[in-house]
């Protein structure tokens, strides 16, 4: 790894990348601004001193970190999967004004499927990772991941139908 960015360079990057990272995370946490802020903060703080000045694509670098933070978040929740998770992190949706109705609905619907399904859906359908890679991330076999994805898609469609378009 090369030398880390200095303060000025990092701050310039910060101004540019903050909306990108925040937008990436907000969509994945069901529009929960508080949670998105938390994860955004974790993303940037973990990049402090670790972002090489020579990195080709700081945006890709930061999105990779953001994805890890998101996966870690759901994994941590996953350890308590048998504990009721009643929508606190679905609360307080903060919709960007230019989001379409479909964007709001699918984001809300995605937030309503359970964590394991949400993680699988996000990694495969939003982040476009192949099933094998998703399986490796979520520590399941490929067949179990495919099964999970099938159920997740069903759950998403059901949730989507129930989400009011307001």
């Amino acid at each position: 790894m090369g030398e880390a960015l200095d303060t000025a360079a990092f701050e310039a990057l910060y101004e540019r990348l903050l909306p990108i990272v925040y937008g990436y995370l907000l969509r994945r946490v069901g529009g929960n601004t508080l949670l998105a802020e938390d994860l955004t903060q974790e993303t940037f703080l973990s990049a402090v001193g670790g972002l090489p000045a020579t990195v080709q694509s700081p945006e890709a670098w930061m999105i990779t970190i953001a994805r890890r933070r998101f996966v870690d978040h759901l994994r941590r929740k996953g350890r308590a999967r048998h504990v009721p998770m009643v929508g606190l992190d679905r609360a307080v949706p903060g919709w960007p004004p230019d989001w379409t109705s479909d964007e709001r609905r699918v984001t809300l619907a995605l937030a309503q499927v359970d964590d394991a399904q949400r993680l699988a859906l996000t990694l495969h359908h939003v982040d476009d990772l192949p099933v094998a890679e998703v399986a490796a991330i979520i520590d399941r076999s490929i067949s179990a991941t495919e099964s999970l994805l099938a159920r997740a898609r069903r759950s998403l469609r059901a949730a989507f139908d129930e989400v009011a378009d307001d």
Partner: protein
Amino acid sequence: MTDPVELLALPDRPIAPSDRFRATLRRRIRQEMVRDGSTPAVTTGQAGAIGEMYPLSGPQQHRRWRPLIAATLGALLVVIAIGAVGLWAAFSNRRETPSQDPATSNGTVATSTPPEPGSYDGTTAVLPEGFSPIDVTTFDSGLVILATDAPPTDDGLPSVTATLFIAESDTVRPVVTLEERPNRVAWDGSNAWVAHFETGRVSKIDPATGHVLGTVQPELAEPVAGDDRRFIPNDLEAGLGSVWLLTARGAVAQIDAADIVVDRVVPLVAPHPSDLAIGSTRVWVSQSDGALVGIDPGSGATTTYPLSHEGRQVVASGNSVFVWGSVDTTSDTAVTIVNEGIGPVGVVDTGSAARGIGTIGDRVGVLFEDGSFSDVYYSGVELGPPAATTWAPTARTGRGIAGALLQLGPGGQVSTIGLAAAGGAQIPVMDVTEPRPIAERYVSSPDWAHLAPPPFENRWPAASVWTGSEVIVFGGGPVGAGGQAYDDGARYDPARDEWRVMPPIPITVAGEPSWVWTGTELMVWYSEGSAAAYSSEADAWRTIDDWPLSGTFYRRAIWTGSEIIDVGAGLAVEPADGSARSIAPAPAIPGRAEAVWTGDLVVLSTGGPAYRPATDEWIDTGPNGLTDLASEAAWTGRDIIAVDYESGVARFDPAGERWEALSSIPFNFGEWLPDTQRLGDTVVVVSWSGVLAYQRDEGLWTHFAFPTAVDASIRLIPAGDELYAFDGGFHRLETPITAAPLRMVVRDVIVDRPPGWEPDGEPIATATATTVRFRHSNSVSECTVTVDDTDAWRALGALPPGDVISVQPVVGGKPIVMVETSSGSGVTLSWAPLSTKIAQVRCATSQEGEEVAAYAWVPWQ
């Protein structure tokens, strides 16, 4: 019509966060860059405000919080809210230099209008001017407080002198001033005990006179440096007939409270011991290396449970123990809940803003950075109203995060309840004077024999069979991930408690395996073309070429006693040479159905079609209500019990050749492939919630103890009337699974509705949503079940003697009330809509005039 799956593929778009967040994070980044040393110092502006809104990551955040207890020097008054007492005690094993004024830290430990110094009103004790608390504990009618008026020491050690105060009636009175840097206080029911940091001595104090009734000085078995054998106190607690002194130097001293002598010193591993709590049967010590140690007060014997996180603090309530600490090296924290009879039963994420765990009365909760306190409860094990019986929403706002968080919305309505992350809303202050009823589920703590470990690593899903005299475990793959399937196995001889490695399998091992036990051979195949058969008698494999079957992840092949039938492939196969014949064409078979042999029929775990070899015909057994994904079933000898991984249960009656849906498993059930096996007339199921037994005659589910932390890799191996378990180690159930009857706390509690608590939004209740259940013991003679439905209590029904009512407030994350009775001919279900907010069961008991009551909280979503 829009397919939401396709919408997921929409590209991400930049979104500007709030200006507040943007500015705050910028400051945090600057701070981190300075701290990290990656850049010269930069002016940080109002740095102090940042940590309040966005917790620091890593260890430094704990340093920020630690001074909470001692950080009162310079304050004229110290106000201790009784609600923080348990937390206070939990936090008090800190020795850092004070740096934060508690008056500004949060509303839990300070009030803006403090009462008179030296006063106590039952909820707030005010120390005399100039004193700051070091440690505090409770007794029946008040508080025992160790406090000092000495200035802080330069070396960060406790002050040389400290005064013991008793807060009782309406005053806070000094009892005695002690030296040797007193730093811990405990109460044994009659007297106070004080531990001294400087010497490790422990003194028993008469609270009325202040006389020191005796002093004892435990010593480490081995000196730490030179001849230093002092117990440097980390925690001091009284309970289970003794006084217990913990030192991070690696020991617990058990002190006889009457004779004031050391009964025993239990060695632990330094420097990991961090905190101590008194359970109902054992003393518990959390360890920073990720372990919880239970100490038997009678023998001093220890039991260690590994944790998935650091053990920094531990508290106990009822028969449950709660260990809190950081997860890995992140700023996130978690609580592991341990049932004293069962072992670890669950882990609750408590987020990055949690600052400690403590008790308020019989509640256990997590204190958060903003000063809010949230109950931690575990719906699969114990439950009770998870929030206050009296409600007093405050205007406090902040980042209440995780735990069992009850949250009032801006309008005062209940908007959320449960375990999750959020913040920014008002947090109710809980009235700790009201008791909380606890309903316990059926539990069993059978003995397990720990046998010789297998000669290979843990694996899943391995072929595992009982041959009649030995256990064979073969194949499988790495636990928890993909990877190359294992090609080795071993057989266990229970007479000699020995494993013998099997010879190498002679076929290529790849992909999903299938296997059957024919009574003499273990047949294993992976892909069409070849199979291998292991003879336990000859201890040798043979190869069958031209094998017509492929392996499947879900069990499709069974052994009828004369041939292998694979209902998925539509073939009956002769194991000797692989010759096959087609069976009658199958109707559509659900993709993940598992096949079970009844002796007459090949039945599918998902219900529907079943195959009868004798007549080569398929019959329809009807639906069983289970999901067609990941169901599992076991033949009990007279019927089949099937479960799915959404906790559904169904029974197949071979006489009527039909399925019937049963009530779902009354424990929350995790999402993984269950393993279901027969043990005599009991069906045993492994799930996220632990190992469960279903006693079919009683319709009773029992959560029973397993030797290690339960995870997906456990394989149960029935062996006649015995049960073996393979989880990397190897165990045998030594005693029957005997369900302990449910006990409700006999206490009549009035639950007040929270003010301003009105529904918000459309109810989501339907008759198919999840449930709340009540269950009571047979000692109860009559119960009535009512729900608070909108504005009035509404009776759902009367329960005759001996009925079973189960309690479950939230299942699968969805709240609803279901009342289930199991009298007479069957199960009766009554559903209450989601507009219900509180469900109540009142039962008369065999004791005249005695009444039991339990409540389940039903949140509005």
